[in-house]
Symmetry: C2
Subunit: 209 residues, 2 copies
């Protein structure tokens, strides 16, 4: 049962002439830009239309409503990412697990890099722009604490501390967040926790020898 967009979100019509293909692209691009500059709150039909250099009416020719726009953007992005991952997996099948894992990392990384803007635009906390300073201060505060902690670890060399601190915190915060976002059951989620610990241990044993 492959997903088809809910009716209320389906594109109204697909462009046939090249003129309108340009228009639709411009609308997508404008959506990204507005999302980046103003956040979801500033994403209004007219702000997008203006930025895209078209009239509001034109937008409604292709998208039944505002949400459909963001939906389509997301769909494009996720489909592209999924295709890349599938290709990578097909290529890496049969290779040692560590090679496969690295291939996966490369793929994910490059998709994110390629359209970093889009990634940022699509995945921003609901809190949005106003809270950036808040989040930044929080990050700095926490970073100070963890760096201080690792600096005093008897088994770490001074010159490794910053690198290891950065790696560990990024991996830990990212993994914890992702683990909870996936909506896994209790069993899987707690299994994940001990695997994450195992991973950090293995990393430290190999990196801080």
């Amino acid at each position: 049962m492959p997903t088809t967009s809910p009716n209320k979100l389906k594109p109204r019509k697909t462009p046939t002439q090249s003129r309108s293909r340009v228009t639709v692209d411009a609308i997508f691009e404008a959506t990204i830009q507005v999302l980046l500059k103003q956040g979801m709150a500033g994403l209004t039909t007219s702000s997008v239309a203006e930025r895209a250099g078209v009239s509001v009416g034109t937008m409604y020719q292709y998208f039944p409503n505002k949400q459909a726009l963001v939906y389509a953007l997301n769909e494009r992005f996720l489909t592209r990412l999924a295709e890349n991952v599938e290709d990578t997996c097909a290529l890496a099948a049969g290779r040692p697990a560590s090679v496969a894992a690295e291939a996966l990392i490369d793929t994910y990384w490059s998709v994110k890099t390629e359209r970093m803007e889009l990634t940022h635009a699509l995945y921003r906390s609901v809190a949005e722009l106003d809270n950036e300073a808040l989040v930044h201060d929080f990050a700095a505060r926490v970073d100070r604490a963890t760096r201080g902690m690792f600096r005093e670890s008897p088994d770490l060399h001074a010159e490794d501390v910053d690198r290891i601190n950065l790696s560990l915190t990024t991996v830990i915060y990212g993994t914890v967040r992702n683990a909870f976002e996936r909506g896994l059951d209790q069993e899987n989620i707690s299994a994940l926790k001990s695997e994450l610990k195992a991973m950090c241990r293995a990393y430290l044993a190999s990196a801080a020898k």
Copy 2:
């Protein structure tokens, strides 16, 4: 220079009587509930007021505008998380790095678990509710690909594949995302990539012996 809220977002006044303390708590709780059920788009002053069982006017007595509400919610959450991390770091300072890392994982994990609702409410993609099916399908598709890949890895036992697939993908997706969200410079970000690879290798070497 410790952060003070931008003026436009500062609470209007702090409750002194217990009656109003109850009110403010109810407003916060209502904000979370609405955010969960309706997403940011459904977070209107009246929906929050209704859910909290107070009038709109009351809300404006304590918050100068709608954004201030979400801001305050975020501030509460982040401050609490930061304090927990600081405590943990103080306790774990001087212990071996792997012990410190595990303590950090426990702390983060417990804060997320404790108020999972709040976490979900605050960190949802701009796409919000409509796109949940989209994201779910995407996840399933990618999971199928990676599991297939690891199933064919010559160095993995069949009974380990699912566990390892879950761990690796969660760690990789979470880390990549977090790496890009942090706004690091090019140097740090590419250093991170190779550290992530090293981590996966070390994990596989120890887990799939």
